[in-house]
Symmetry: C2
Subunit: 192 residues, 2 copies
């Protein structure tokens, strides 16, 4: 009962996500969010709470979409190195898209908010942990099949791959040179 909602909750949260993604938390006003969703200010706060709650919901929406894609790439069948390469290449494609994207929302959140907002920090950690576990699992599988070196255990190797992965995305923001970024990926894979 009650007046029916005019908006789709998932679509609204997706719009909110993209706005926060593009501008960051502080630079986004509640009026920006109202405009990008097509909703009124009161409808937004009535449905989702205040600005900070909206941000947390946007992070969770990102988790359900983009983070899920990353882990899915790592679980596909086929050679493990191809999966890691797919993860890296997909990130390069996103970071070098036209018009230029704003990188990884979670990385942005970790820089802007994670050291001042414990709930954001926890949400950020959740993403990183999920990706880390997917990488570790894939590498362990590769070690079993002999594709991946056993010089280090899968956990250590996963940290190594993750640092290259996130470093790659930092570099992509600063110097969008696809050739150089691809070289980084191949250099990493050659040493696994």
């Amino acid at each position: 009962m009650g007046r029916p909602r005019k908006f789709d909750e998932t679509r609204a949260l997706t719009a909110v996500m993209h706005t926060f993604w593009q501008r960051g938390y502080e630079a986004t006003s509640t009026r920006d969010l109202a405009e990008s969703t097509g909703m009124g200010l009161s409808s937004l706060s009535n449905a989702f709470g205040d600005k900070r709650q909206l941000y947390l919901r946007a992070l969770r929406r990102y988790y359900e979409t983009n983070t899920a894609v990353q882990t899915e790439l790592l679980r596909r069948p086929g050679p493990v190195k191809d999966r890691v390469r797919a993860l890296m290449t997909q990130a390069i494609d996103i970071d070098l898209a036209n018009p230029p994207s704003s990188g990884c929302l979670i990385m942005n959140a970790s820089m802007e908010m994670a050291n001042t907002d414990p709930e954001v920090a926890q949400e950020v950690r959740r993403h990183f942990t999920t990706v880390e576990e997917a990488v570790r699992s894939a590498l362990a599988e590769g070690q079993d099949s002999g594709e991946i070196t056993r010089d280090q255990d899968a956990g250590t190797l996963a940290h190594h791959v993750l640092s290259a992965y996130y470093g790659l995305r930092v570099l992509a923001r600063v110097r969008p040179d696809r050739t150089a970024l691809t070289n980084v990926v191949e250099t990493l894979l050659a040493k696994l």
Copy 2:
């Protein structure tokens, strides 16, 4: 001539740098800057210009201090791997300091501002280019002396090291686990 300044320009800019470093650009108000420098709002804008100019000055101050330390570590005498390790270890020490620091100001700037402010983007690129060249130069020296593999040329290898370096600093923000971070460093060095 005129009334003498009560503040030291370098000290003021250092205070401004630390405030922006800790809170980011958008979350820092001009009144925050006035408080952290001990100056009045008028004195700040009279001496340095508006908030954005202050931010750019803070980035340049960071370049003269922190970035300079990084390149200096890479130019020291001794084994090249020890220099790279020193660079990485110093970053870990900073990122895991108590009270927890806010990582690398330039990385923060690249996430928050570099895609909307061309001047900030240029300043950010300047830092990255400087560090990259210092790493490349050190690795080339190591290749000459036989310390470093010649599987790839020094430029490609430098990108590889840089991605691990910045990825390390991303991970340090999210999971301040010194053992894991140190393992990443050693895993990288072992493959050079």
